[in-house]
C-alpha cells in the first residue's frame, strides 16, 4: 500500500492557505475604478503541486498568486470586490485535480479557477469545465492538446492558459538546437504527457530545421524518480552528442547532479533542459549547475528588461525574499488577466468574462502578451539561454539569451498535426 495523503493534510493546507489569504486582505479597500457592487468577495480557487519532491513549484505559484491578490486588493479589488484565494494540493493526480475543481465550484463557491501543474490534470479538469461553467486559467500545465484540441477543435471555451505551451520546450528548443554542433540527440524525460509530447515536437521540428540530425535513444523516467543513474547510464551507452531533457523541479536537480557524476557534460557537446531556468532548479543546483547548459522556462526573471518586469521582481523580492520563479509570474498574470477581463466585461458571468478574455492584451512581467481568440492561449516569447555563474546573483543565471519571435515558434490555428 502506498501511503496516501488523507483529507487531514488537505484540510491543513487549505486552512493555512485561507489564513494566509485572510492576513493579506487590507481592512479598507481603496476606491475601485469599476464598481460592480457585487457585495461579496470574488473567490478564486487555486490548485498546484504543494507536496512531495516537486512541491517547490506550487509554493512559487502560491507566492505569485498571493502577491497579485495583495496588489489587486490594495487597488480596490476586482470591480470593487476583494479577491479571496483558496489553495489546494493537486498532487499531480488526475482524480485529485478533478475533485479539487468540483470542490472549489460546488462547495466553496469559486467564481474562477486558476493553477494546475500537470498536463494530464489540465486536460482532465478542462473536460469538466463546461459542466462547472467557470473560467479556468491554467498557469503551468503545458500540453499543446489543451489549447489545440480542447479549446480550438472542441470549443471548450471556459479554458484559458497564460503560460507558454510545450512550443517552448519542443519548438523554440529546436531553433536553438539547429545551430549547435550536434547531430546525435537522446533524451531523458518524464514518462508522462509533458515529457512525451515535448520530445515528439523537438524531433519533428528539429528534423525540419536540420534534416541530417539523428535521434539515437530515449529513456523515460516515471514521476517520483529518485535516482537517474540507470537512465543516464543507458542513454550514454548510445553515444549521443547532445541530451535533451524535460525533467523539472527536484527531479531535474537530481538528474543534473548525477549526469555530472557520469561525466555527461564532458562527453557530450550540448545539454538542454526545457524547465532548467525555473528558480527552484537554479537555487537547488546552485554551484553544481554546469556552465553552458541550455535552459528555459515559462518566464525568466531577467527577461525582458522592462519597467513592469523590474517592478514585479522588486515587489516579489520584497514580499518573499527570493527571486520569482515562472509559476509565480504565470499565477500573478492569471489574476491580473481576470481583473482586467472582469472590469472590461463589467460582470463576473462566465460567458461575458470569456468574451472579455478573448483577444485581451496584457502588459505582464514576462512582456506584452495577447490571449489568442481561437485557442485561448496567451502568446508571448520566453528566452532560452546558457547557465552562467554570475557573482552578482545568489544563484546561477542565464547568459547568451536566445529570443525568438512568437511568430517563429508558436503553432497557429488550424494546427497541422505534428509529424514524427
Amino acid at each position: 500500500m502506498a501511503p496516501r495523503r488523507g483529507a487531514t493534510r488537505r484540510r491543513f493546507l487549505q486552512t493555512s492557505a485561507l489564513a494566509v489569504a485572510g492576513l493579506g486582505l487590507p481592512r479598507v479597500l481603496a476606491a475601485a475604478a469599476v464598481d460592480l457592487k457585487l457585495k461579496k468577495p470574488i473567490k478564486i480557487g487555486c490548485q498546484s503541486i504543494l507536496s512531495g519532491p516537486l512541491g517547490g513549484y506550487g509554493e512559487f505559484m502560491r507566492k505569485g498568486a498571493v502577491l497579485a491578490m495583495d496588489e489587486i486588493n490594495a487597488q480596490g479589488g476586482i470591480g470593487g470586490s476583494p479577491i479571496e484565494l483558496n489553495f489546494r494540493d493537486e498532487e499531480l493526480k488526475v482524480d485529485v485535480g478533478v475533485k479539487n475543481a468540483r470542490y472549489f465550484v460546488e462547495d466553496w463557491g469559486a467564481d474562477f479557477l486558476i493553477g494546475i501543474d500537470s498536463s494530464a490534470v489540465a486536460l482532465a479538469v478542462g473536460e469538466i469545465m463546461p459542466s462547472l461553467n467557470r473560467v479556468l486559467i491554467v498557469t503551468h500545465g503545458a500540453t499543446e492538446k489543451f489549447n489545440e484540441d480542447l479549446v480550438f477543435k472542441r470549443h471548450v471555451s471556459q479554458c484559458f492558459r497564460v503560460c507558454v505551451p510545450v512550443y517552448q520546450d519542443g519548438i523554440a528548443s529546436a531553433l536553438v538546437a539547429k545551430d549547435l554542433p550536434v547531430k546525435r540527440w537522446a533524451t531523458i524525460s518524464p514518462d508522462y504527457e509533458y515529457g512525451h509530447t515535448s520530445w515528439k515536437m523537438f524531433r519533428a521540428y528539429l528534423k525540419r530545421f536540420k534534416p541530417d540530425v539523428e535521434f539515437v535513444g530515449e529513456s523515460f523516467a516515471k514521476f517520483g524518480t529518485v535516482d537517474f543513474s540507470s537512465h543516464i547510464s543507458k542513454v550514454m551507452g548510445l553515444n549521443p552528442e547532445g541530451i535533451f531533457s524535460t525533467e523539472w523541479g527536484g527531479e531535474a536537480v537530481t538528474m543534473v547532479k548525477q549526469a555530472k557524476l557520469f561525466k555527461v557534460f564532458e562527453e557530450t557537446k550540448a545539454f538542454m533542459i526545457g524547465m532548467g531556468s525555473a528558480m527552484d532548479v537554479l537555487q537547488g543546483l546552485g554551484a553544481d549547475y554546469p556552465d553552458g547548459v541550455w535552459a528555459s522556462g515559462r518566464y525568466y526573471f531577467g527577461y525582458p528588461d522592462s519597467p513592469e518586469n523590474k517592478r514585479f521582481n522588486d515587489a516579489f523580492k520584497k514580499r518573499w525574499n527570493t527571486y520569482p520563479s515562472y509559476p509565480s509570474e504565470t499565477a500573478y498574470t492569471a489574476l491580473f488577466a481576470l481583473k482586467k477581463a472582469v472590469e472590461k466585461a463589467r460582470s463576473i458571468e462566465t460567458e461575458k468574462v470569456i468574451a472579455a478574455l478573448e483577444g485581451l492584451e496584457l502588459d505582464r512581467p514576462a512582456g506584452k502578451c495577447v490571449i489568442r481568440k481561437e485557442d485561448h492561449q496567451a502568446v508571448y516569447a520566453v528566452p532560452w539561454g546558457q547557465i552562467k555563474h554570475d557573482p552578482k546573483f545568489p544563484m546561477p543565471t542565464l547568459a547568451n539569451l536566445k529570443v525568438f519571435t512568437t511568430d517563429e515558434y508558436y503553432r497557429k490555428p488550424p494546427f497541422a498535426p505534428v509529424e514524427g
Binding site: P3, S219, V253
Partner: protein, 284 residues
C-alpha cells in the same frame, strides 16, 4: 552492460539500507513502520545541516545518521511504546501520522526548496572502461552497502545482542518467558533501524535533491523489497533490493515499456509461489 548492472546495484544499496531497518523492526517488533521513509528523509536533512556547519561530507555522514538514531529513540520511547498492545491498525495510523508530521516539519524548518550540497571532490571521479563510465560515488555506495551488510550479519550472528534479536524474532513469548527485557530490546532495534535509514538518507544527500516528501517514494519501494525478501529477513531484504535494482537497470535497457511493472510483477510472482517471501518464515 556490466556497468548498467553495477549502476542498478548501487541504486539498490539505498533501498537496502532503508529496507534492512524496516525488515528488522518488523521482524522483532511486528510493527510496520510507515515512517521509515521519513527517517531516510531526516537522514538527508540532518546530514545537510551537519555539512553546512562543518563543511565536511565525512562529518555529515557520521553525524546525520546518529541524529536520526536519536530521533528514532524519541519516536519509539515517546510514542510507539504506548501502542504495542493496541490493534495493528493503530500502530499503522501512528506511524503514518509521523509521515505527514515529519514532511511538514521539514517544510517548515527548511522550506519547500530543494537542497543539494556538492558531491565531495574525492568521490567525484569516475572509472572508465571503453565508453562505459561508472562514477566513483556509485562504487563508494556499493562498498558502504556491502560493509553494512557484513556488519549486520556479524551483529546478528556473532553477538549476544544478535542472539536475543533472533530469538525474539523467532518466538516473542518464549523469549520473554526466558527473561528477555523486550522494552529495551525494542528501543535498541528501532534505534538501529532508524540509524540505517538515516545512513541511506545521508548517503543520498550529495547526489539526490533533498526535499520534503522524498521519503515517500523510497518507502513504497522498500515495502516491495521487504515483501519480496520476506518480512523480518535481512538476507531477504538484501537480495530483494538487489533484485529490484537489477530489474530496474536491465528493464530500462531491454524492455523500457514494462520497466515500471517489473518490480511489482516480481512481487506478485513471489507472493503467489511463496506468500511469506523468498526468505521469510512461514507463519504457523
Amino acid at each position: 552492460m556490466l556497468f548498467q548492472g553495477l549502476v542498478g546495484l548501487s541504486e539498490a544499496m539505498y533501498l537496502w539500507l532503508v529496507a534492512a531497518g524496516l525488515s528488522l523492526i518488523f521482524g522483532v517488533m511486528r510493527v510496520l513502520n510507515f515512517a521509515h521513509g521519513s527517517l531516510y528523509m531526516l537522514g538527508a536533512y540532518f546530514a545537510w545541516v551537519a555539512f553546512r556547519i562543518s563543511g565536511s561530507f565525512w562529518v555529515a555522514l557520521v553525524v546525520g545518521p546518529l541524529l536520526v538514531a536519536a530521533a528514532g529513540w524519541v519516536l519509539e520511547f515517546g510514542f510507539l511504546r504506548r501502542v504495542y498492545s493496541a490493534p495493528e491498525a493503530f500502530q499503522l495510523l501512528l506511524t503514518f501520522a509521523f509521515v505527514l508530521i515529519l514532511d511538514d516539519a521539514v517544510k517548515l524548518a527548511f522550506g519547500p526548496v530543494y537542497q543539494s550540497p556538492p558531491t565531495p571532490a574525492a568521490l567525484s571521479g569516475a572509472v572508465r572502461i571503453g565508453r562505459s563510465i561508472l562514477p566513483t560515488y556509485h562504487l563508494f555506495i556499493l562498498a558502504v552497502g556491502g560493509l553494512v551488510g557484513l556488519g549486520l550479519w556479524f551483529l546478528l550472528e556473532k553477538t549476544s545482542f544478535g542472539l536475543i534479536v533472533r530469538a525474539t524474532a523467532a518466538d516473542r513469548e518464549m523469549a520473554r518467558a526466558l527473561g528477555v527485557r523486550s522494552s529495551r530490546l525494542f528501543t535498541g532495534v528501532f534505534v538501529l533501524g532508524a540509524w540505517l535509514a538515516g545512513l541511506g538518507g545521508a548517503l543520498s544527500m550529495p547526489v539526490r535533491a533533498i526535499s520534503p516528501g522524498m521519503g515517500e517514494f523510497i518507502i513504497i519501494e522498500a515495502f516491495v523489497v521487504v515483501v519480496l525478501g520476506g518480512l523480518g529477513s535481512l538476507r531477504g531484504a538484501f537480495l530483494g533490493a538487489v533484485l529490484i535494482g537489477l530489474l530496474h537497470a536491465y528493464g530500462l535497457l531491454f524492455m523500457p515499456v514494462f520497466e515500471l511493472a517489473l518490480a511489482y510483477m516480481a512481487m506478485a510472482a513471489v507472493l503467489i509461489v511463496r506468500p511469506w517471501g523468498l526468505f521469510g518464515v512461514r507463519e504457523a
